[in-house]
């Protein structure tokens, strides 16, 4: 079972990203759950979402304590949140950043999701859409195939630019 923890801010699409990843996994015949951790958060506050992917039905409902992968959609949450908390020794990190970031020696991938969204003018209510390009990066990292990512995006959004954004992130992801 892969356990993924996604850090974002309210309104950045982290919850939808988690659902799309679960959908992509389910389309491949796997089992998946996606769950935001709800507190009293409001728009703009740090939010955590959990995604589990497995070959067998998933019975866990408690929070993920030892993630295999930590995703950071907004690096500013790292000022107040220890995003690496509990990460497995070999756990990987994926960061929305144009530049490499040192995450205490953990294998860290970066891609400029914000830049990709802005380059395609994928903006809703003034915020760049980060979740669809994120799907491309996750496909590149091997959690799901690009085909199922494409399918999940198309089931969720009608605008073709979302798949294009995923394609760009797939190509631009760097370690």
């Amino acid at each position: 079972m892969y356990e993924i923890r996604l850090h974002s801010r309210g309104g950045q699409g982290g919850v939808t990203a988690a659902k799309m990843l679960a959908l992509a996994a389910i389309r491949e015949g796997k089992f998946a759950t996606a769950c935001p951790f709800y507190g009293a958060e409001r728009r703009g506050a740090p939010v955590v979402s959990y995604i589990r992917i497995d070959d067998a039905p998933i019975k866990v409902y408690s929070q993920i304590r030892q993630p295999d992968l930590v995703i950071v959609l907004d690096m500013s949450v790292m000022e107040t949140v220890d995003v690496l908390q509990g990460i497995r020794e070999d756990g990987r990190v994926l960061i929305n950043s144009p530049h490499p970031v040192d995450m205490q020696g953990h294998p860290t991938y970066h891609v400029d999701l914000t830049g990709i969204a802005l380059s395609l003018n994928l903006v809703i209510a003034g915020s760049p859409i980060l979740n669809t390009p994120l799907m491309g990066a996750l496909a590149k990292m091997g959690y799901v195939t690009f085909d199922s990512v494409k399918g999940a995006i198309e089931e969720t959004f009608s605008d073709d630019r979302n798949v294009e954004a995923a394609q760009l992130a797939y190509e631009e992801l760097e370690r």
Partner: protein, 368 residues
């Protein structure tokens, strides 16, 4: 059709597939998404129900009662404070013998304000005469809601059914969901005592001590009938749609020496703890209680029992633990855990079993 959905969406989809004539509801976290989704289905023409946007939960149940009394299928959803606010009308729906279906997102009661999972809301309504089922997955939320209509409306039952799903833990989690075309699995509702202006009658008139108890007994008789109606409905559901359910869901129970009883999502998490314990040489099993009313017959003979109550009856104890203690002469270790969304992991549960003290009560997280 295989898709993904939250627990709330699954309930709304089951309602869409059961097509009640009336949905009357009032929003409350963490149930709101159910009624929003239903309102959207109605507004977009995908569901031919009338949506009554009532001004309170008391009125939500009252409106369901008024609609159901005419022989119309009625649904509502609520949670926590909303449920206890409609308490009076929960009793009324039972006495009036109306097969209303309601989803309850189990949530703790204030103060302090707490929007997370707990079962005290619905368990404090256990004596109203509503049938109560507690579900453990998104798929089960859909299946149980669909079945609830058939069970409630069965003429041997004619009692309302409450489908309980854990607030946030289940209402907001996304999992896979396979919806079905119910076809004639849910026959048209036929209420024998529906209001008929051609046959005027008084409903709920003043009833003297010499008669009242007969109506109460009739409710109990129907509650007893409900067990076989539930089993028959669940069997038929399994035959038609391939997913089978029992009064309980048992996991590695047959040869278990210690059985963990819990409800809702915690009951699913118990199964992982059982695997861990088995790996450590503890012969554990899980018995997830699905139906709480009517209370099922449990096969606990010769076993030790660890009950996890996500609820409490002050001055008495865990409600599930005491329900079991009153029916079965077995050693019980009563654990109170998960109140108001308190985080409980499978490792914690395995710990409860390893450190069990039959006869004792243990409040998880409290040093006492």
């Amino acid at each position: 059709m295989l898709t993904i959905a939250t627990g709330n969406k699954a309930v709304a989809d089951a309602v869409k597939d059961a097509v009640p004539a009336i949905v009357a509801a009032y929003p409350i976290t963490p149930q709101t998404e159910i009624v929003e989704q239903i309102a959207n289905y109605v507004a977009s023409g995908q569901l031919a129900s009338k949506y009554i946007p009532v001004e309170s939960e008391h009125s939500a149940m009252a409106a369901c009662i008024g609609a159901s009394a005419t022989g119309a299928r009625a649904f509502t959803a609520t949670s926590s404070h909303g449920l206890v606010y409609m308490c009076e009308m929960l009793h009324w729906a039972v006495g009036a013998r109306l097969p209303i279906v309601m989803a309850n997102a189990n949530r703790a009661l204030g103060p302090g304000w707490n929007i997370w999972a707990e079962h005290t809301d619905s368990l404090s309504m256990r004596d109203t005469g509503w049938l109560q089922v507690y579900v453990g997955s998104v798929q089960e939320a859909y299946d149980a809601t669909l079945m609830a209509f058939r069970i409630a409306e069965h003429n041997d039952v004619l009692l309302p059914v409450m489908v309980n799903l854990d607030g946030f833990a289940l209402t907001h989690i996304t999992q896979s969901l396979e919806t079905v075309d119910p076809g004639d699995f849910i026959p048209p509702m036929h209420l024998p005592h529906a209001i008929d202006t051609g046959r005027p009658a008084g409903y709920g008139t003043l009833t003297a001590p010499g008669d009242y108890y007969r109506f109460r007994w009739d409710i109990e008789r129907s509650m007893r009938n409900a067990v076989s109606v539930i089993e028959e409905t669940q069997d038929e559901f399994g035959k038609r749609f391939g997913r089978t359910y029992g009064m309980t869901e048992e996991y590695r129970c047959a040869d278990a020496e210690v059985v963990v009883v819990a409800m809702g999502t915690l009951g699913k998490e118990v199964e992982i703890a059982v695997d861990i314990l088995r790996g450590q040489g503890v012969k554990a099993g899980s018995m997830r209680l699905r139906w709480f009313r009517p209370f099922p017959d449990l096969d606990l003979a010769g076993k030790e029992v660890v009950v996890i109550d996500r609820d409490y009856s002050f001055g008495f104890g865990g409600i599930v633990a005491h329900a079991i203690a009153s029916k079965y002469d077995v050693p019980i270790f009563s654990v109170i855990a998960g109140l108001g969304g308190q985080e409980v992991t499978y490792d914690d549960i395995a710990g409860f079993v390893r450190d069990r003290r039959p006869g004792d009560e243990y409040w998880f997280g409290v040093d006492a």
